[in-house]
Symmetry: C2
């Protein structure tokens, strides 16, 4: 009996099969499903509600830093894509190509017809098509900087799709900016990268390691790529946002020129930066447990579900319903974290109460209230807070809960963040100094984590670890400044690098 496995709402558990657990959390939380269109997902209301909240807050931060939204075509002519050599090489293998513009019925079957003179690519990213517009928009230094953001769907053909993490179509925002000087463009690249870090830490409750990508991991065509790397519960890294300094590469490809104050015609400096629905995958794998998803309150579509426990007695039920509706209305007038409205939902669907409760737990709603006849009599509520064990109730006087709900939500937000920080700290190894120890660490089963060690910056050493399914995630912005030896080849090295397995 002592060995009896604890009941969990999700099967398999993380320990049993991490990858199966992930799929199961997504399914049981009713967040998304893979469609019959290869690699394309359907984002269901609970998943999309999380994405909408991410969009709202990130959009606010993007606008607060001076950017404006715009929208550019879904289709890109081949002639645009080929302009930047590294760029086309980076994306050629994964582009959906439109070749026809109508269908005809032929022998009872629909066939493509109206062949295009030149095929179009469905955008995998928009540097080239936006660059073509920028070239027309910009004449003089007075027109600079141009600070544009786009919310859009993009397509990168995916051979091994995985919901939210790797999908053929995904949703994202892509910032594209143009500057008169190298310095200004670098400053922009760094600023937006910081916006991402703050957003992910403050709203998604995910601590990240900010750093620069090594040359081989850069965005195709970029001079520098900055990244924020998060650690999932299995110790793998998930790249959660990137910001690219493109130098004059794309400006030259798209002929983005401006008349400087001197009157001379110069090529501009551009940047691009993006985060995608992949962040939802990061959210899931950062906070969820074996009872399902756990959503940080600041990003949750609903904060509190109120589930009535009805009886076979209409009079009692009417009282319960009235009581629930009063509490719901009171909560919906409240705020947490300063100015976020509390979203409370009275769940009067026709399903059984126990199924409703577990449905909400698996969706990771921060708080579930169950209200039965005794609660009405006592003026109390039964509270399930999702940061605690999903079976642990607390009975509270109704008024105490209503006035205290915002504090509970803030506690939950903080507890998810604190747990993620503790994990990142505990599993970032700084005591691995040679190749044998490095391989040994990553050959063990289960939690592996990050290694922060020296790298000589040679491509040979990077290729060597890559062949072992390890990657250099980033060169952290925060460098120790110490000298040491490359963890791969043993040569003298100054650069700190993060080694990890990755999604």
């Amino acid at each position: 009996m002592g060995n009896k496995k604890a009941r969990t709402a999700i099967s398999p558990t993380r320990e049993e099969d991490y990858s199966g657990w992930y799929q199961s959390v997504v399914r049981e939380a009713d967040m998304a499903e893979m469609s019959h269109v290869r690699g394309c997902m359907v984002i269901k209301p609970w998943g999309y509600g999380i994405w909408e909240n991410m969009q709202r807050e990130l959009d606010r931060r993007i606008k607060a830093t001076g950017h404006e939204n715009a929208y550019f075509p879904l289709f890109i002519p081949l002639s645009y894509i080929e302009k930047e050599a590294a760029h086309v090489e980076g994306f050629a293998k994964e582009m959906a190509v439109v070749t026809h513009h109508r269908l005809v019925s032929k022998d009872g079957e629909l066939k493509p017809a109206g062949e295009l003179e030149s095929p179009l690519v469905v955008r995998p990213t928009s540097e080239t098509i936006i660059g073509a517009s920028f070239a027309n928009w910009i004449q003089s230094y007075k027109d600079l900087p141009v600070l544009i953001n786009q919310w859009a769907n993009v397509v990168r053909w995916e051979m091994r799709p995985r919901v939210f993490l790797r999908t053929t179509e995904f949703l994202w925002q892509e910032g594209h900016t143009v500057h008169a000087t190298h310095e200004e463009a670098v400053e922009e690249t760094e600023k937006m990268f910081k916006v991402y870090q703050d957003f992910v830490e403050e709203f998604l409750a995910i601590p990240v390691i900010p750093g620069e990508k090594s040359e081989s991991e850069r965005f195709p065509g970029a001079i520098q790529t900055f990244t924020i790397e998060a650690m999932m519960q299995d110790g793998k890294a998930l790249q959660s946002g990137t910001s690219h300094y493109l130098g004059q590469n794309f400006a030259k490809a798209s002929k983005i020129q401006f008349a400087a104050e001197s009157g001379e015609l110069e090529y501009a400096y551009t940047t691009s930066w993006g985060v995608s629905t992949r962040l939802i995958g990061a959210l899931i794998m950062s906070h969820s447990d074996d009872d399902g998803l756990r959503v940080p309150p600041r990003i949750a579509p609903w904060h509190i579900a109120i589930v009535p426990i009805l009886r076979n007695d209409e009079e009692v039920n009417a009282k319960i319903e009235a009581y629930c509706k009063e509490i719901t209305a009171e909560l919906n007038k409240s705020y947490f974290a300063g100015n976020q409205p509390i979203m409370a939902k009275y769940d009067d669907r026709q399903y059984k109460p126990v199924n409703k409760k577990w449905g909400w737990i698996k969706k990771g709603i921060p708080i579930v209230l169950e209200i039965g006849p005794r609660d009405v009599e006592n003026g109390s509520v039964s509270v399930l807070a999702r940061d605690k064990n999903a079976r642990e109730y607390e009975n509270m006087p109704r008024d105490e809960f209503v006035t205290g709900a915002s504090a509970i939500l803030e506690r939950i937000q903080k507890s998810y963040y604190d747990a993620a920080v503790a994990r990142l700290n505990e599993h970032t190894h700084t005591d691995i100094h040679d190749y044998k120890s490095l391989l040994k660490l990553f050959s063990k089963k289960g939690m592996t984590g990050f290694v922060n060690a020296k790298w000589c910056e040679s491509i040979e050493c990077e290729d060597k670890v890559t062949s072992k399914k390890l990657t250099i995630r980033c060169l952290p912005i925060e460098q120790s400044g110490t000298e040491g030896h490359c963890v791969v080849c043993g040569a003298e090295a100054k650069m700190d690098a993060i080694f990890a397995m990755a999604y």
Copy 2:
């Protein structure tokens, strides 16, 4: 001299060339441009800002009526599209088809490679792919209704593109709902159609005629299509939103079935409804004048632009700037129409003041303030309100303006709406009773307008007017109930119908 043409910021004027005027308004307001990708537009920040405001308010109304947002794949398998016969026939001629999933370089040229086993269509609308999900989501009557909305881009290959009005790619929202009964689905169709009407009238300041489409104008596959029809300044109609009752047609095609309370398996009843970036075209052609765009305040990205008139005197300029910034900050703390924050922008770009002012006028911002040295001395502001002549200034004490700004914005909103209502009333003819008069009216140049006349409901009479480039826009919900004679064939007829030329 009496014949001297008034100066206008837009050329050609509406009278000179209505279609040229429209293009020029879009260009001069910097709203959008056609890209080099055939039929696809670039929506620039001013145009996209208007769309974002439309989205925000409409999204609020869609959610307030119980719908949730979700997201479905961009690509649709041919096998889905084929399922509903009328549907595929309606869209086959205008669908972009993806046939390959990568590019290879061959003889120095990029060529499509990786041919798909079965081609994919870029969604022209999503009934079929959403229906495939609904069929999986729904088991029992307890799962109904399903009330889903999607914000997305769609593609319908366009041979004669026109910015905002007819573009190959456009942005829209598409609602898709599933119900247990015919009655509930019809109620939903009508409810959302009313949501559209209220939104377009209250926010876009465009009065519409709500009605039902004739059979030949229905959405391909629908049982009933409802529409709101607006009258543009040239008297042509613009269909501004549609709501479709699909009966069991799509439920049968996609096998959307549910176990009823009786236990029997039944086909569900579905609806769909949408509005698109076409509404921006309606907005432009409803309110703009020969000095450019005029945006109703409730939908404007910015409400007030503050343009400093600087001198060659740094001390004076510092005072002007401080004064402008104070006013901007005060305005940005204010609200209008109850709860809409006033968006005031201090325009410190390096261009000449007169160019900045006319830039804002052409963008249709509701109010421009010009602030020169004398205004600072007198504590006044020079006000240009866009509903009045663009050259008509009003001098006001600063405080009077700040406290009165919200009233001015509300006046502007109302004046645009009132003018549009007056136009709709004046140019809706109810005195045309025979075919000769009908053709005569629509053969004249310039403003034609709508004819509200009887129709015998025969397809022959509809085809006859269609051959004359006229269409039956809708059968208004508000029917007179009188009897009369079909304006085409003279037969006895009860049905009132709106005849008009249309975009």
